[in-house]
């Protein structure tokens, strides 16, 4: 693991058992069903940078975020933070320093704050959990400082979450995430539930905080405009695998993987009805993924090899791409 990387994920596998109940399975002679939400995913994040995962709904982006956060125990692979492998750690609670350094911002601003708690208690929860305040006054002072830092007023601490709008709640969520003084933030679609104008405020706040505090972000989104605004590096995910890892400039100017190209073509623009080719078909069922390259049923460049053999990530310039067509210089 190189020194500059804060996080390295290697061959992460996250399988879920989605079999029907035992008796039903026995009566209908059904096999066990396994959903491979994430299947052999590798990436690394440089300290102080933003790495984004992008992909359609159901491709496993959020699962990666939750596995890195430790909310799921991975089926296989390694998650290495500061030289400690979290995936194999028996008990994450033993490594409190890592959990203090790693916080998460969630998608829904409504479900991520306990409606029965005052905002100051919500923000102070990590401070209390990691005993970061010397006494009550110190704790209040830290909370007030955080509220001001995320653009709310110190008196908002006395209110309850329902007294705030979606954007303000997301600010509270950010303040809670920052309260344990983390280095690394996992952002699981933090703006997808917000209005466009509010999205911009939250994204600007997040970039400002990154510059100020030197934070590293793992950013999950399906919105390429948001990705463009936030990222340094981008991983494009399809059906639990990563098909392209690339610097931001390359993604928009020189997309290599056919899926990346199709995603970029699908972005609406303000020129009215342009001749966009929508992505054909739907994401296949991850319980029974297609053989070979999982993208082949929707790929205009697919050939026999794509149906049989799974592509692996190869280096092309600054990017890593997993595609037979790219490898064979067909595109």
């Amino acid at each position: 693991m190189s020194e500059q990387n804060i996080l390295e994920v290697q061959g992460l596998k996250m399988y879920f058992d989605v079999s029907p109940p035992f008796v039903t399975r026995l009566l209908n002679r059904m096999p066990k069903q396994v959903l491979k939400a994430v299947d052999g995913l590798s990436f690394s994040i440089e300290r102080g940078k933003t790495f984004s995962l992008v992909g359609e709904s159901g491709c496993g982006k959020s699962t990666v975020a939750r596995a890195v956060a430790g909310l799921y125990t991975p089926t296989g692979g390694d998650i290495i933070i500061d030289g400690q492998n979290l995936a194999t750690a028996k008990d994450r609670s033993k490594i409190t320093d890592i959990s203090r350094q790693m916080q998460m911002i969630f998608q829904s601003p409504y479900a991520s704050l306990d409606p029965r708690w005052r905002v100051r208690d919500i923000i102070a929860e990590p401070i209390r959990a990691f005993k970061l305040a010397a006494n009550k006054e110190d704790e209040w002072r830290q909370v007030e400082q955080l509220l001001v830092q995320v653009g709310l007023s110190a008196s908002d601490g006395e209110k309850y979450p329902h007294e705030f709008s979606g954007g303000q709640r997301q600010r509270i969520s950010i303040a809670r995430a920052l309260s344990s003084k983390p280095e690394f933030l996992i952002c699981d679609e933090p703006t997808s539930a917000l209005d466009v104008s509010v999205q911009a405020q939250i994204l600007n706040l997040m970039t400002a905080l990154q510059d100020e505090l030197g934070l590293t972000y793992l950013f999950i989104s399906h919105d390429l405009a948001v990705i463009d605004h936030m990222s340094d590096w981008i991983g494009v995910m399809y059906l639990g695998r990563v098909c392209e890892i690339t610097p931001k400039s390359e993604l928009f100017s020189n997309p290599r993987h056919p899926y990346t190209r199709l995603l970029l073509e699908a972005i609406p623009d303000l020129k009215g009805r342009s001749h966009r080719k929508p992505l054909k078909g739907e994401v296949p069922n991850p319980i029974t993924p297609p053989s070979g390259c999982t993208f082949h049923p929707r790929c205009p460049y697919a050939n026999e090899r794509c149906k049989q053999e799974q592509p692996v990530l190869g280096e092309y310039g600054p990017s890593q791409v997993a595609c037979h067509a790219v490898e064979e210089f067909r595109i």
């Binding site: 909310l71 409190t96 790693m102 704050l113 029965r116 959990a129 990691f130």
Partner: protein, 309 residues
């Protein structure tokens, strides 16, 4: 300074939806007043009446079978008349209501304190823990509460001597009614906990290594307890009915301590000889008490769960 904060608080309270809904529901207001009066009469019985109907030393056999004050032969000293041993019916009802309320409230407290933790554990963990707890609850629900109470009462009656049994009769009754009705509280709490555990604020608490027990107490419990407590209000009425039924059957409260059910049972044997007041007034009180508590419970349920309206 203090006055300002109180008037501000009152402004907040009177503006509140709940207050509005209360003030615009005459039935609820009447039921609340009736309940408060009955509580006052029951728990203030020793101040409000000079009679001690269940003290054997104060029996006045000369005054037996006196009808209510407005009937022929009635007398204003015994407003609602007296029973076969000259005991004042009004005083008996006041003391009886006290026992009924104590049994009703304590047994609900007991079943809530069994049902809520089990419901939260079942809903939060899910899987086989959930299956085990809820199937056990289902099994218990197939046995009517009265049967469970009869069984527990029967066991204590045969194992304990009759003096000891009289002392423990009320606690036994509370325990048997309480144990019999926990499943419904567990069910309501469980369904709430199943919804809450998937929410991201729980994930945020897990992320900072909050112990599971602390998550359940600090986050899940406050968010699921509301509906359970509303059902518990109605549960008090149900518990009072079960207690009255058991006492009427003669297995609940011993005759030396009155409860509304005991009074109805005692009076029942005089019904055909014309002394209707001995059983009518306790029964009437029971009806009003249960009805009022039920109406308050219904109002609470409708106010806090608008979907049921």
């Amino acid at each position: 300074m203090k006055d300002v904060s109180i008037s501000k608080w009152w402004a907040g309270v009177s503006d509140h939806d709940v207050t509005y809904s209360f003030l615009h529901s005459p039935v609820t207001i009447v039921a609340t007043v009736a309940t408060i009066l009955m509580f006052a009469a029951a728990f203030g019985a020793s101040f409000l009446t000079i009679y001690t109907p269940f003290d054997p030393g104060s029996l006045e056999l000369r005054e037996a079978f006196m009808p209510p004050a407005w009937e022929q032969g009635g007398n204003s000293e015994h407003l609602l008349g007296t029973d076969g041993q000259g005991r004042d019916i009004l005083a008996a009802i006041m003391y009886g209501t006290q026992v009924s309320l104590v049994v009703g409230i304590l047994s609900v407290l007991l079943s809530v304190s069994i049902g809520i933790p089990l419901g939260i554990i079942a809903g939060y963990y899910g899987g086989w823990v959930d299956t085990a707890i809820m199937r056990f609850a289902d099994i218990q629900l197939t046995i009517p509460p009265i049967l469970i109470a009869l069984m527990i009462d029967g066991i204590t009656r045969t194992t304990l001597s009759s003096e000891v049994h009289e002392i423990v009769a009320i606690p036994v009754l509370i325990i048997s009614i309480g144990v019999a009705s926990w499943p419904q509280y567990a069910r309501i709490t469980r369904s709430g906990a199943m919804v809450e555990r998937r929410k991201d604020y729980i994930a945020a608490a897990k992320l900072i290594q909050t112990p599971t027990a602390a998550i359940m107490v600090r986050h899940v419990l406050p968010n699921v307890i509301g509906p359970t407590l509303i059902v518990a209000t109605i549960g008090v009425a149900v518990a009072i009915i079960i207690e009255a039924t058991l006492s009427f059957l003669g297995v609940g409260i011993p005759s030396t301590t009155p409860s509304l059910g005991t009074l109805i049972r005692i009076g029942n044997s005089f019904l055909f000889s014309g002394e209707w007041w001995i059983t009518f007034f306790p029964a009437f009180t029971l009806v009003i008490l249960v009805l009022s508590v039920n109406l308050i419970g219904d109002w609470l349920r409708d106010t806090f769960n608008p979907k049921l309206r």
